[in-house]
């Protein structure tokens, strides 16, 4: 390298200061404008930049005003404080539901400390994992804002200390002066409450404890007192019965411990190729219930004829009884003869049951069962129920005494006698005039509103308790959340009035520890303890039973009215639960109302079988004993001639927003015969008045009417939607009732396009579902479970009337045969996840599409709500968010029901912050204007996959269960992977002769396989058709 210095200018050579300064800069230009912006005029570019920025900032700031919702992140290190709670991971607690009639061991799913879903406890030896609709919905009642937030004194908020002191003081003074205290309770199934009451009675010996059930089974206990020597309700092992004969009983839907019974019943009702056997179920009933709908043979009888029918049956099976007489219905007479024959051939393996609250009927039932030797095998008198412990006679006595004014204090333990007894006025006056009146109702209900003090009970999900549904078996109730409000359990309240302030948790723990064979730790883990070992027990004394039967003094006259219990609403105590109000009645498919059911023939005779529109029904004035009420009319197919039926549990006045003034209260019409509450009454008149009523009908039924019978149309059609066969045919051919499937498979599996190969989803998972129509009893548990799991909104009666309901899942009800006594089929219907889905290709924005696992999925955020997919869905399972139901609207809350002028448009049930706590955080709430539908519980699939992945294994069959599946009390629904050859779903699809797909010939390639319904009938069923009566 040379040392020569090259230069290009003199300045450079001389290295002048000016030169050096310039050379130090990269660009030989004046950059002051760039460096010192403030000193020069802004350039054009600067101007544009500034303008662009300010315009976009202004646009951002002003255009999108989205309401800010503050939330506390659940991300700080909770694990030190509450190690059980991992954000985003559900925690399950074993607990127990019992309302005095329903019972189930449960698992309660909690997320971040709040209970959000009820599941059945599969470990339970009694209920084996099922739930019913009421249990599913009960989680929403926890967040019911109508519940009292504080104890009350004279209908004003008070505190526990004050009311405890005052109540104790008053009790003491009343007791000292010898004044009588009435303690009115419902069924006493709770060990803890029972003990608390016993202690209370011990301290205040003037106490009379009266236990009653709004819908009573007292006659069963009383009859068993005569027949068996003790007032018990025995267990019935339906699984061991080959012949089941029901008389006005709804043991599957509303009967005592109905989940347990449904499980047992269905165990002997599913024929398979290897074992084509099922029990035979006959049902004599006045109105149509799900039990009647599930029966193989059904005979409509009037309530007043039930006794005669039983006398005839008893005589026919060899009982020594006189007074047989033909029934009015020909079918029923033939039925008795047929049933008697079958019962005689199944001695010891059959059962006759009735839920009618009539002593003589129950005695006859006992006599028949005793004659047939069913005790010890099917009827287990060793395992008896502690449910339905109410005593009608003591209620009647109490009412008489109250009328006479002989009680100074009335304490209502979770009962509402002003509403749900026929002694409404007596209780009202007695409460008002009592020296002390206390209610433990959780809300100021019809009775509590008149009480001086309300000591609100906690919800069962906030409570500690021990429930004994059956002798020797206990359900453990543990809180899943600390009490939301300042409420206290009844047992705790009773104890504190006695001066005992032991925490209830300790009381429960001590109680369990003191019980033999019980372990507290096990109880907490399992949610139950004790045994349900099958016993046998004594048999009924037939002659004693028969001796108790006497001739009827007055034959029934006029219209007979049956007051019945609905599957969802029950006795009315759950009336403020909108999920239950909106659950359609399984048979009538009516939501949000009670109504008078009339027989089809009667409707035809009166000319009210056709209405201007399906949902505008006639109104009738029903007069019973001089009192009358107006009710909408529903034509109930299968209703016995000359009878009406009206549901109890409606017409609440102080239940809360959802329950108030829904339907009419018919408790005041109940009457007592010989001290036993009777749920049917004769001498009623019905008069149709010129009004129509907008009924929240979920599935129209007027389509069955003759006016809609299109002339000249063939009667036999649409047989491939619901398929059914008889057991006799099934035994001959496992494809019976499903013979067209072979042809469909051959004929309709071709494509016009050669070489076009649709995705068959043979890789990875391919989700599918099996629905067994034979197992489905139509109870609706799955419908409510689905709604709770998937945050499906409740829309209210008005919206249901407009057919804008949102339930993702429904149970279609189809009639078949003679409209006076049809066969009924239930068909759970949800998204079929078609592999050739008609909804997918019509969406203009690709908001619905198919996943690689065969799921038809919805991208809610992409949906613009054209509803084209819903139109093109052949199963009509897509649901549109017609209004904003849950406050998920991006525009703010237009539909919160707070504007009086929008009342006609919306009724909101999910806008309260507290109520919204029930929402499942794994499922988004959908905003107004988007389509939604069954997702096969994709969040559960995802959870199952993640668990399997963490455990480094493949998914096993049964790892993922949908919400409808887990809720089902009869295992009618099974979910699984079609590609897993070991799965129940794959095996059923592959091997079951009963398997078919709805509308298979349309080539939608549905992923839900239905199993042909098998009825255990001797003869061919009437030609199958839907919504078509015999002409």
């Amino acid at each position: 390298m040379s040392n020569k210095k090259y230069w290009s200018s003199l300045d450079e050579m001389n290295e002048t200061p000016t030169y050096l300064e310039q050379a130090s800069k990269e660009f030989n230009v004046d950059t002051t404008a760039i460096e010192e912006n403030n000193e020069v005029e802004p350039s054009r570019r600067d101007f544009l930049k500034a303008m662009g920025f300010s315009v976009s900032v202004a646009a951002l700031a002003s255009a999108c005003k989205i309401p800010v919702k503050n939330a506390i992140p659940y991300t700080f290190d909770l694990r030190n404080a509450v190690p059980e709670i991992v954000p985003g991971v559900a925690e399950y607690f074993a607990t127990t539901y019992c309302d005095g009639s329903d019972f189930a061991n449960l698992l309660v799913k909690t997320r971040e400390g709040r209970p959000i879903k009820i599941e059945g406890n599969n470990e339970s030896p009694l209920t084996l994992g099922g739930t019913n609709a009421r249990m599913q919905a009960s989680v929403l009642s926890l967040y019911d804002v109508t519940r009292l937030h504080k104890p009350r004194k004279n209908n004003k908020d008070a505190d526990w200390k004050t009311i405890d002191a005052e109540i104790t003081q008053k009790l003491d003074s009343i007791s000292k002066s010898g004044g009588k205290i009435a303690l009115v309770t419902g069924s006493l199934s709770s060990v803890i409450t029972k003990k608390a009451i016993d202690k209370f009675s011990a301290k205040y010996p003037t106490t009379t404890v009266v236990s009653y059930d709004a819908i009573s089974q007292y006659a069963v206990r009383k009859a068993n007192q005569i027949s068996l020597g003790s007032p018990i309700i025995p267990s019935i092992n339906f699984d061991k019965a080959d012949v089941i004969v029901g008389f006005n009983t709804d043991f599957l839907g509303t009967g005592i411990s109905n989940i347990e019974n449904a499980k047992k019943y269905i165990a002997n009702r599913i024929p398979t190729k290897e074992n084509p056997k099922m029990s035979r179920h006959h049902q004599f009933q006045s109105t149509m219930t799900i039990t009647g709908a599930t029966a193989d043979y059904r005979y409509p009888i009037k309530p007043s004829e039930e006794k005669q029918a039983l006398i005839n049956l008893l005589a026919a099976v060899g009982g020594s009884i006189s007074g047989t007489k033909n029934l009015s219905g020909k079918d029923a007479n033939e039925g008795i003869a047929k049933v008697a024959k079958e019962l005689l051939s199944a001695k010891g393996k059959s059962v006759v049951i009735s839920s009618t609250n009539d002593l003589q009927i129950q005695l006859l039932v006992n006599a028949i069962n005793g004659t047939l030797g069913n005790y010890g095998t099917v009827i287990d008198t060793a395992n008896t129920y502690n449910l339905k412990t109410g005593n009608d006679e003591s209620l009647a006595t109490l009412a008489n005494d109250l009328k006479a004014g002989s009680y100074k204090a009335i304490i209502l333990i979770g009962t509402n006698p002003v509403y749900n007894t026929a002694y409404s006025e007596i209780f009202k006056n007695a409460i008002k005039s009592a020296e002390l009146s206390v209610s433990t109702a959780d809300r100021p209900d019809e009775s509590a509103q008149y009480c001086q003090y309300i000591a609100p009970n906690s919800h069962y999900l906030e409570s500690w308790d021990i429930i004994s549904p059956k002798t020797g078996f206990y359900g453990f109730v543990q809180p899943t959340i600390s009490p939301l409000f300042d409420t206290r359990q009844t047992a705790e309240s009773l104890a504190s009035w006695l001066g005992d302030n032991t925490p209830i948790a300790t009381v429960v723990q001590n109680e369990i520890t003191s019980m033999t064979g019980a372990n507290y730790q096990t109880a907490v883990q399992q949610g139950f303890f004790g045994n349900v070992t099958a016993g046998s027990g004594a048999s009924a004394n037939v002659s004693a039973s028969i001796a108790g039967v006497s001739a009827d003094a007055n034959p029934a006259k006029g219209m007979e009215v049956l007051f019945y219990e609905k599957v969802a609403i029950g006795d009315g105590s759950l009336a403020n639960n909108p999920f239950l109000q909106e659950m359609p009645d399984p048979v009538a498919k009516v939501t949000w109302d009670n109504y008078v059911c009339i027989p089809y023939a009667f409707a035809k005779e009166k000319g009210i079988d056709s209405m201007p529109s399906d949902k505008n029904v006639a109104v009738a004035k029903v007069t019973i004993n001089g009192k009358s009420l107006e009710l909408p009319v529903v034509v109930q197919f299968g209703q016995a001639a000359g009878t009406l039926a009206i549901a109890l549990g409606y017409g609440r006045e102080k239940a809360g927003k959802a329950g108030d003034l829904v339907g009419k209260n018919v408790y005041p019409f109940l009457k007592s015969s010989n001290g036993i509450t009777s749920y049917n009454i004769d001498g009623a008149t019905i008069e149709f008045i010129s009004k129509t009523y907008e009924l929240g009908l979920n599935q129209t039924y007027h389509t069955l009417m003759e006016d809609n019978n299109l002339p000249g149309r063939s009667m036999k059609y649409r047989g491939e939607i619901v398929k059914e066969t008889t057991l006799a045919d099934y035994k001959k051919d496992e494809h019976a009732g499903n013979l067209d499937r072979k042809e469909i498979k051959e004929k309709f599996s071709h494509s016009l396009y050669d070489g076009y190969k649709p995705n068959d989803y043979k890789q990875g998972h391919h989700w599918g579902m099996v629905v067994d129509l034979n197992a489905c009893i139509g109870c609706g548990s799955c419908v409510v479970s689905c709604s709770i799991e998937n945050n499906v909104p409740v829309v209210g009666k008005r919206q249901v009337y407009r057919s804008q309901e949102m339930q993702w899942m429904r149970i279609d009800r189809y009639y078949n045969g003679n409209p006076d006594n049809p066969d009924v089929s239930f068909q759970p219907m949800m998204c079929q996840h078609c592999n050739n889905a008609p909804c997918e290709n019509v969406c203009p924005v690709n908001a619905t599409n198919h996943s690689s696992e065969g799921l038809n999925q919805m991208a809610y955020n992409r949906c613009i709500g054209t509803r084209y997919c819903a139109n093109n869905c052949p199963y009509k399972v897509r649901r549109f968010n017609w209004l904003d139901y849950q406050g998920a609207d991006s525009f703010g809350k237009f539909n919160d029901g707070k504007r009086s002028f929008t009342d006609t448009e919306s009724q909101s049930y999910m806008f309260e912050d507290l109520t919204r706590m029930v929402l499942n955080p794994d499922v988004v709430t959908r905003s107004r204007g988007v389509i939604e539908k069954c997702s096969f519980c994709v969040q559960r699939i995802q959870e199952g996959k993640l668990v399997a992945k963490k455990e480094n294994r493949t998914l096993k069959d049964g790892d993922v269960k949908t919400a409808c599946q887990t809720a089902c009390p009869t295992n009618a629904i099974t979910f699984g992977d079609q590609n897993n050859k070991e799965s129940v779903v794959a095996k059923t699809f592959e091997n079951s002769g009963r398997n078919y797909y709805v509308l298979e010939e349309q080539h939608f390639l549905s992923a839900v396989g239905y199993q042909v319904k098998v009825r255990n009938k001797d003869e061919e069923p009437a030609e199958f058709f839907i919504n078509k009566p015999n002409a």
Binding site: D812, Y814, Q827, V842, T866, Y868, N871, K876, S927, L999
Partner: protein, 479 residues
């Protein structure tokens, strides 16, 4: 437009011995001068009804589609019924301006301007329904295939609704251009008649500074021809694509291959009916009897007779196919249309669309203003029923009887439909007031051929030449 030979026996298309100046004056007159109280009254009424549209749409957007009677089974009801009805009405304009132009039907010149305007207003009304029937109208732009950062996430090109978007936006654009192109020289005519500076400027702007040079006319003619060529396929394609919304679905009663021709015929049918309704009123009110002659009315009635009968044949073919297919759902759908709870709409459709247009077999009735007006109204009603029958009665009872419902509209739906009629009438009345309702330049182009004085002259000439010996060449035949 180059004139060509036309038989002198043909009826003249311009009555009243008009000169070019008369034509200019007659047609420009309604746009100048004082606003008539009659016009003001009807415009106010229409605007008030259009206000009802705004109110009902606001209500629906604020509270949700749940304010409608549409439901889980009947997802589309009055909304899409109205959409298809309005789109169908819009068809006449393009048919007249494009297809009849190509077929050299000179009689079109009298009615094409108003018909095209009607097309545009009808498409505007129609366009409201697909937009506002969306549950989330604020996300309506998702329907356009715009580049985005979400993947990019494209629209679903297999969805007929997307085809609708393209079909209707194209149709609207081309119709608007065609209409405006025709208006340019006429705006210049109005400008030239203007007495105030403001008016002059306004119409000069609208006419793009048209000065009527030969070059202008040449370019104008070529553009008209190009646009006519472009719109011709659109006449057939738009309603074909609208019919695909139904034809490509699986709903029994929708899924039929007859839909496209049947829809196109129906669209032209209803479009002509609406043109007649409006033209008969305009002819009367604006005193344009010399330009919209009985010859025009008779021609349009003939088209309605043809298309009405085509539609009727389609109705009967559908019934036959439903029966012949042996498909129980299909046959039920059609039996249900005729005999189900919506029998009255089927009856209304059959009577108004198939039976009643048969009166036009009689020349006397074709040329009777009263009968024509009554028929045009009947056909408008009948075509609305047709869409209602197709949409609602197919949907309300499809595959699973468990989901069958009876649909009735809510006040919001009725308000929106009535409101669009108000919107349409407001736009049309504004058009009549501010724009030349008849194409001045085009009418002038046929004056020398079809003006009655020239036609009479030709006839006289022919009489002298004794060309038609046996034919009575008497202009009385025209009436």
């Amino acid at each position: 437009m180059a004139s060509h030979f036309e038989s002198p026996l043909r009826e003249p298309l311009i009555n009243g011995n008009k000169t070019y100046k008369d034509i200019t004056n007659d047609i420009v007159r309604p746009t100048t001068g004082k606003i008539q109280p009659k016009w003001l009254f009807w415009t106010s009424v229409s605007a008030a009804v259009a206000g009802l549209f705004v109110f009902c749409i606001t209500w629906e957007v604020c509270f949700g589609i749940g304010t409608w009677g549409a439901n889980k089974t009947v997802g589309w009801a009055w909304d899409i019924t109205n959409f298809v009805w309005w789109i169908g009405i819009g068809h006449a304009g393009t048919l007249i301006s494009a297809i009849l132009l190509l077929f050299r039907q000179k009689w079109r010149t009298g009615v094409n301007r108003a018909a095209e305007a009607m097309t545009i207003f009808a498409v505007i009304c129609a366009g409201q329904f697909p937009i506002f029937h969306m549950g989330r109208v604020w996300d309506a732009f998702f329907i356009f295939p715009y580049p985005n950062t979400r993947g990019p996430l494209w629209v679903n090109f297999t969805s007929p609704l997307l085809w609708d978007v393209f079909a209707i936006s194209t149709y609207f654009t081309v119709s608007l251009l065609f209409w405006y192109t025709g208006l340019v020289p006429d705006f210049a005519t109005i400008r030239d008649q203007s007495k105030t500076k403001g008016r002059w400027n306004f119409y000069n702007f609208l006419s793009f500074g048209w000065i009527g040079t030969a070059k202008h006319w040449e370019r104008w003619e070529s553009l008209s021809l190009i646009l006519a060529g472009l719109s011709t396929p659109l006449v057939l394609s738009v309603h074909t694509i609208v019919s695909f919304d139904f034809a490509t679905s699986i709903v029994p009663g929708w899924h039929t291959t007859i839909m496209p021709p049947y829809f196109v015929a129906g669209a032209i049918f209803s479009g002509f009916a609406m043109v007649l309704t409006l033209m008969l009123v305009a002819r009367h009110v604006m005193d344009l009897k010399d330009y919209i002659t009985l010859a025009h009315i008779e021609s349009m009635n003939k088209v309605m007779l043809l298309t009405g009968t085509m539609v009727g044949i389609a109705y009967l073919t559908e019934l036959f196919t439903a029966w012949y297919s042996g498909n129980m759902y299909e046959s039920y759908a059609f039996a249900n249309r005729a005999m189900g709870p919506y029998w009255w709409s089927y009856f209304g459709m059959m009577f108004c669309n198939l039976v009643s247009p048969q009166v036009f077999w009689f020349r006397k009735l074709r040329r009777n203003i009263g009968v024509t007006f009554a028929m045009s109204i009947l056909i408008n009603i009948g075509m609305w029923f047709e869409r209602f029958v197709i949409i609602v009665t197919s949907l309300h009872r499809d595959y699973l009887p468990s989901s069958w419902v009876y649909y009735s509209p809510s006040w919001v739906e009725i308000g929106i439909f009535v409101g669009t009629i108000g919107l349409f009438m407001t736009l049309f009345l504004m058009f009549c007031r501010f724009f030349p309702a008849i194409a001045i330049a085009e009418v002038k182009s046929i004056l020398k051929v079809s003006g009655n004085q020239y036609r009479q002259g030709q006839l006289d000439e022919l009489k002298d030449q004794k060309v038609y010996d046996n034919v009575s060449v008497d202009s009385k035949n025209w009436d």
